[in-house]
């Protein structure tokens, strides 16, 4: 099963390396890691998307906890969650196909953020399925480059999920 972990860590040099190193050496799968500031100064929030059965997830969480720079580990998967990813895609597009692509992009609430002579850049946010669906539609036009941020997520509602 796919799990989204929200990990509060000390904003210290190498903290990303510590986490990635641990997951790698214990043979845990990483689909994506994103990291940025959190609500508390001095702490960063890492969102890790990983796969594994219950036992593996318990190990992931316990092993992460052993890192001194890890303050809190939450598995968001068993709670209502908002999970989003940002994607930028450069699609082949001449003057004739630009409007067509703009039409495809619109229902996804994506936007065209850059236009070149034979390509345009599309920006889209959403869950992974939505981003994948848009990619499938854009593929026939020729995808030149993709950059995705990986998932970031928060649990819904006012209450924090207990760790």
């Amino acid at each position: 099963m796919r799990h989204i972990l929200s990990v509060l860590v000390n904003d210290q040099p190498r903290v990303l390396a510590r986490v990635a190193n641990l997951l790698g050496r214990r043979n845990f799968n990483i689909e994506s890691i994103s990291v940025g500031e959190s609500e508390e100064p001095g702490l960063s929030r890492m969102v890790i998307v990983t796969r594994g059965d219950e036992r593996t997830m318990e190990q992931v969480s316990k092993q992460l906890h052993k890192l001194v720079d890890v303050i809190k580990v939450q598995d968001l998967s068993s709670h209502p969650v908002v999970a989003r990813e940002l994607m930028l895609v450069k699609v082949g597009a001449g003057p004739s196909t630009r409007t067509e692509i703009a039409g495809i992009v619109e229902p996804f609430r994506a936007s065209v953020v850059d236009v070149g002579s034979n390509s345009i850049m599309v920006q889209v946010t959403g869950d992974r399925e939505k981003l994948d669906a848009l990619l499938d539609l854009l593929r026939p036009y020729g995808i030149k480059e993709i950059a995705r941020t990986g998932v970031t997520a928060l649990s819904r509602g006012p209450i924090k999920v207990p760790s």
């Binding site: 190193n21 052993k66 890890v70």
Partner: protein, 578 residues
């Protein structure tokens, strides 16, 4: 004990808080405040400021002949005292020479504080002379590590390092100090206490889990205790004895747990696993309740065959490290806490198990399948030798071992009655560990007899530390179980590779007697039981260090043995045994 001159010096300086110190002075003052009495290390460019401060400070420093020697000494010291061993090495090769020792300490939960110098910060990342990213290199093999960028952080970092190394599940902590930080000046305020937000080990057990444990014990008919290094680390040997006696549960001790439960106790079954006893392994196979105490269900015990291991048993697991619980085996009663605290609390209202019939069966197993070897008139049998060491020392000695056949024979034939007496490299299986660890142990406990049982292979990996034995007059008795080969590898080649002996012959020497003498250490040799008896007495009577070359039968193998991939039910008992 801090050096008296410095202790008073420090008190005086409390008044003059204004005074500034260099990073290296701060470091040493912090170490003294932590009660560090001995440093193990080796100098070099990046730690010149630290060694300059050491020149004035007068803490005892052991100048090992190789950084690996220094760190294994620190590990031996830590395993005896329970306090962190402290090592210093320079940047680059000095730091990388520590790596094996750090990994060893991580595997065996040995408290260490490792201090390395590094190039000045303006050169970091430039592949400067003797630059190595030791923080990156040791990230997966330390409990935690620090790269100090500001001299003002140093007191807090040192304090945290000692707290992290010595509490919870102990382990190695590395502090990497670039040279400019060692030279920079700051005020010294050493914190008495630190609170580390991301580090809060659970020491007290959950009462509900203890109730479940009691209930399971009361019902159990075939219970077993598997006791590991955690018992020794937390100093819970007496609690374990009370626990086992009151519940009437038989005990098997892992390699790391040896001495945590007396080898002379009637409830003891010996070591389990790959070279374990028949009784211990069969108890693990057939038990209905398995209580793991301070163990991690390592594959040398379970053989990785979890389908066969304690198949019909409920497993209760007591450990300070929550990540160990459920890592390898499914756990019915998880109990996170310090082993000593858990056992103390568990003793209250502890029921007796229904083990009468089970204990009889185990007694039968012990009687029917004891450890055996075929004695010989002509050659010196290594098993006989270890038993002789045991019988002549009353089991009172500290024994360190290296890694290989001799290590297993010590685990099998030397009966340890007390904790912190058997010092061996368990998790990493580090050849070269035994001899420097013995020196560290002797430094930690100058009055106890320290025997290092080592192999002719392993001894050569760190024998340069004979210089330290001689200089410091550390009366360690080095027993070289000399089979002229890499015995354990040879055994595997014999059993699993149809006797294709590939690169295991060490018959080229050296002459260990002459090697000892080259360092001014007494060297002795024995080839028969008679010689062995005489020479061993001579060694014990000698007040200084001795190396004894025991030329043993090179064809002897360690039995029983379970092949990797086999279950504990498939024990090879050794066909030539009687």
């Amino acid at each position: 004990m801090p050096h008296p001159a410095i202790a008073t010096d420090d008190r005086k300086e409390k008044v003059t808080e204004q005074k500034e110190y260099t990073g290296s002075e701060i470091l040493l003052r912090c170490l003294i405040r932590e009660g560090v009495d001995t440093l193990f290390g080796y100098p070099g460019g990046a730690v010149l400021p630290i060694y300059d401060s050491l020149y004035h400070k007068g803490i005892r420093h052991i100048l090992a002949r190789h950084e690996q020697g220094a760190i294994h000494m620190a590990e031996g010291y830590a395993r005896i005292t329970g306090k962190p061993g402290v090592v210093i090495a320079t940047s680059g090769p000095g730091a990388t020479n520590l790596v094996t020792g750090i990994a060893n300490a991580q595997m065996d939960s040995i408290p260490l504080v490792c201090i390395t110098g590094n190039v000045p910060q303006n050169l970091i990342g430039t592949d400067a002379f003797q630059e190595a990213d030791i923080t990156g290199i040791t990230m997966p093999i330390t409990k935690h590590n620090y790269f100090v960028t500001d001299v003002r952080d140093l007191p807090r970092v040192v304090k945290e390092a000692f707290v992290i190394a010595s509490t919870g599940r102990p382990g190695p902590v590395l502090i990497d100090i670039p040279k400019d930080v060692s030279n920079a000046k700051a005020h010294l305020e050493y914190p008495e206490k630190v609170s580390i937000r991301g580090y809060q080990p659970t020491t007290d057990p959950h009462p509900l889990q203890l109730q479940k444990l009691h209930a399971a014990i009361a019902k159990a008919e075939r219970p077993v205790i598997l006791a590991g290094g955690g018992v020794v680390t937390s100093g819970a040997d007496q609690e374990l004895r009370d626990f086992a006696e009151r519940t009437q549960i038989p005990v098997t001790t892992t390699l790391m747990g040896i001495g945590g439960f007396s080898g002379n106790h009637p409830l003891w079954m010996g070591m389990p696993g790959m070279h374990g006893t028949y009784a211990a392994n069969h108890a693990l196979l057939e038990c209905d309740l398995l209580i793991g105490i301070g163990v991690r269900f390592d594959d040398r015990v379970t053989m990785g065959r979890l389908d066969k291991f304690a198949k019909g048993a409920k497993i209760a697991h007591i450990d300070i490290d929550p990540a160990e619980i459920g890592k390898n085996v499914d756990t019915y009663i998880p109990i996170v806490g310090d082993v000593k605290r858990v056992l103390q609390e568990a003793l209250e209202g502890l029921p007796r198990s229904r083990s009468e019939g089970w204990l009889k069966r185990i007694e039968d197993w012990k009687r029917q399948y004891p450890l055996t070897f075929r004695p010989s008139e002509k050659t010196l049998k290594p098993q006989w030798l270890i038993r002789h060491l045991y019988e002549t020392t009353g089991g009172d000695a500290i024994v360190t071992t290296d890694v290989g056949q001799h290590q297993m024979w010590v685990a099998q034939y030397f009966r340890f009655a007390k904790p912190r007496s058997f010092i061996s490299s368990g998790g990493l299986g580090t050849m070269g560990f035994g001899f420097p660890a013995a020196l560290g142990a002797q430094i930690a406990d100058p009055d106890r007899l320290v025997i290092c049982v080592t192999g002719d292979g392993g001894f050569q990996m760190t024998s340069q530390e004979l210089a330290i034995a001689a200089l410091e007059n550390l009366p360690v008795k080095v027993v070289v179980v000399n089979n002229r080969c890499l015995g354990m590898v040879r055994q595997w080649q014999e059993v699993f590779y149809q006797e294709r002996y590939s690169e295991v012959d060490l018959s080229g020497g050296p002459d260990f007697v002459k090697l000892a003498e080259a360092y001014g250490v007494k060297g002795l040799r024995a080839r028969t039981e008679e010689e062995a008896k005489r020479v061993w007495q001579e060694a014990l009577a000698h007040p200084g260090p001795v190396v004894i070359d025991f030329e043993v039968d090179p064809e002897e193998n360690v039995y029983p043995m379970v092949a990797p991939g086999s279950g504990l039910d498939e024990m090879m008992m050794g066909d030539e045994e009687t």
